[in-house]
């Protein structure tokens, strides 16, 4: 009994320490976003008159538009990745089409630095006439989102027993029908998890936005970096911007974490 209680306290302390490590820096950002420029020069000052000016500045700075652009790019990139990735990963896992080499290429696709790929992508955007718009970002983001999505999906499909598919075939379903109505429902949580990962990769990318689109079409991470200016210190506005950029993701995390854990579990991530 005593030992159990001791280990429970130890466990709670450990979890609390983890939470504090994550929450304290974020709290500082929240506080900084409410400080006036003069108060911000004293980072540990707790007693101050809160101001809404930073939030107003951040909202007026084009940040909401950048947020929308990031959202659009992320959704399109994830959608494309799913449309081609789901059947592709299934074919790899179930029929071994493409085999080891394709699996390897998928993995290696994540190694090359964006710095050397970005000018080819710039040229591609001119070939596709997407230059100057956020559409220019989509192939670039697909290049690192799609491999991760497919890689995760292969594991999920591999964990679906072949027998349930065969049963569906015996029941008169076509291959495509069996895939659609029997296999997909099994991996749905996994697909959800892959979506979240893929989306966060696209949402967080700064580098491609730096080169591929003009400032008027930039995405969120670059807008945040844009408060680090030679104009002076826009620490407060930047803090508000970081929060504005993170809050949607944090709220989403609250609602999807259960599904994430489920999706990645259930023999999902395995080799």
């Amino acid at each position: 009994m005593v030992e159990q209680r001791f280990s429970r306290i130890l466990r709670s302390t450990w979890i609390a320490a983890g939470i504090l490590t994550i929450v304290l820096p974020m709290m500082w950002i929240v506080i900084a976003s409410l400080k006036s420029p003069a108060d911000l020069t004293d980072a540990t000052k707790i007693a101050f008159t809160p101001t809404g000016e930073n939030w107003a500045n951040a909202l007026a700075s084009g940040l909401p538009a950048a947020l929308l652009r990031s959202l659009i790019v992320g959704v399109v990139v994830v959608a494309v990745s799913l449309v081609v990735g789901v059947p592709g990963a299934y074919a790899l896992a179930r029929y071994g089409v493409g085999g080891t080499p394709l699996g390897f290429v998928l993995l290696m696709a994540q190694v090359l630095p964006p710095a050397v790929l970005v000018f080819p992508f710039l040229r591609l955007s001119h070939l596709l006439k997407t230059n100057g718009t956020i559409a220019a970002l989509i192939p670039a983001h697909i290049s690192f989102v799609l491999p991760v999505v497919v890689w995760l999906l292969i594991g999920f499909f591999a964990s679906v027993p072949v027998s349930i598919e065969e049963q569906a075939r015996i029941d008169g379903k076509s291959r495509l029908g069996a895939f659609w109505s029997v296999v997909i429902p099994h991996v749905r949580p996994g697909i959800g998890a892959a979506c979240v990962f893929g989306f966060s990769l696209s949402w967080n990318d700064m580098f491609y936005s730096l080169i591929l689109v003009p400032g008027s079409a930039q995405t969120l991470p670059l807008t945040i970096a844009g408060f680090n200016t030679f104009r002076g210190i826009e620490l407060g506005t930047m803090s508000a911007a970081i929060l504005l950029a993170s809050i949607p993701m944090l709220i989403a995390t609250f609602f999807i974490q259960k599904h994430l854990v489920q999706g990645l579990g259930g023999n999902g991530v395995k080799y």
């Binding site: 911000l40 080499p101 290429v105 100057g132 003009p214 030679f230 002076g232």
Partner: protein
Amino acid sequence: MATTASRTIAALAAVGALTLSLAGCVTGSQDRSSSTPTAGGSTGEIAKDHSGTVRIIMESVNDTDVIESLIPEFNKEYPNISIDIDSMVYDQMRDKIVASVQSPEPAYDLFATDNPWFTDFSQAGFLQPLDERIAATPDFDNADYFQPLLDITTVDGVQYGVPYMNYAVGYVYRKDVFADAGLEVPGTLDELVTTVKSLTKDGKYGIALQPQRGYKIMEEWVGWLFAAGGSVYDAEGNASLDTPEAHKALEAYIDVFNNAAPKNSLNWMFDDAQRSVASGDSASLISYNFALPLLNEEGGISGDRAGEFTLVPMIGGKSVLGSWSWSIPTNSGDPDAAWAFVSWLGSKDVDAQRVIAGGSPVRESTLEREDVLTEGYGADYLNAIKAMLANSDQISHGANSEEMIQAVGTELNEAVAGTKSVDQALKDANAAIIRIQGE
């Protein structure tokens, strides 16, 4: 296992072959048309009914806001030209400019160009020569720009830019702190060292330095080099960093960093140092002249210390000079409209209006005008800038300036960090200049 390995290799070979053949088609379009100046006929005075759009890339600083506020005035003269300013932080500008000139359809029609970029950009054929336009524009008094600013925009005798902002680096200090301590502004490097040391006590520091690797320390330390009587290049244009003057300057800098600058500030850059003086922790800093209005702004970052700061030229008299100039890219979508804007903004009356609104002075005549001296940031500030411009030099000349500045700035930072001796760092810095920029 063997089959897997060989299959992998076979597949990789296939992918390789495919990619190479793909690349063949891709790189066919690599020969860049070196220059297609669309400007023909009258290139100077642009017709008032000219219609077009000028997309401008600029840094998000105060001067850009000032220029943006003048656009409605411009549109009274040129109602059909729309000006579209894309302002961003310095770190992002050069990458975006390079991307724009690499593109068949440019993202920008007019660049704000920083001084170290001129040689590379003009030699690469990114920029249009402006001499013809300047000569053909009536009342455009080119010679009235401060000569050091014109020198920056001129490569091999051809002018590629029109200055609109200088960011000469000076010494900014707290008048009240100096007065309380009974100190005068130091006149020499030695005096600077003793002055800032004597101000370092009770948790306060004499000076906030910006020794971050690369650009920052280079921009700051070269001022010390000038103060020690040295220079980056000798009279023949050869690297001259392995000299007694450079040794003295770097040793003084390290001495001050260790004994009169905030602790743990090895990675500091502009905003860290500025925050340190704004908060009252440090009594002075070496910074761009436009730092002064930022520090003295009522209700700004300095709180009740606003108004206590003042600016003088770099100790020793010679300042590091940087500047932004307008230049028209070779692939500009509408070079005439771009020139209409540049020449309008550069005309003497508009220039004075710009400086009164808080813009940076670039014309000599502007600083002679009564209204400018009384209505703007004040005569003291403007006269300090005038003095700085009169005796100043850039941190790098010629091609590959970016790489040279990064390399030398890394060596200097290593000496300050103590991971290299002063001797070795200066030798290596000197060798780096020769390697990167030639003899």
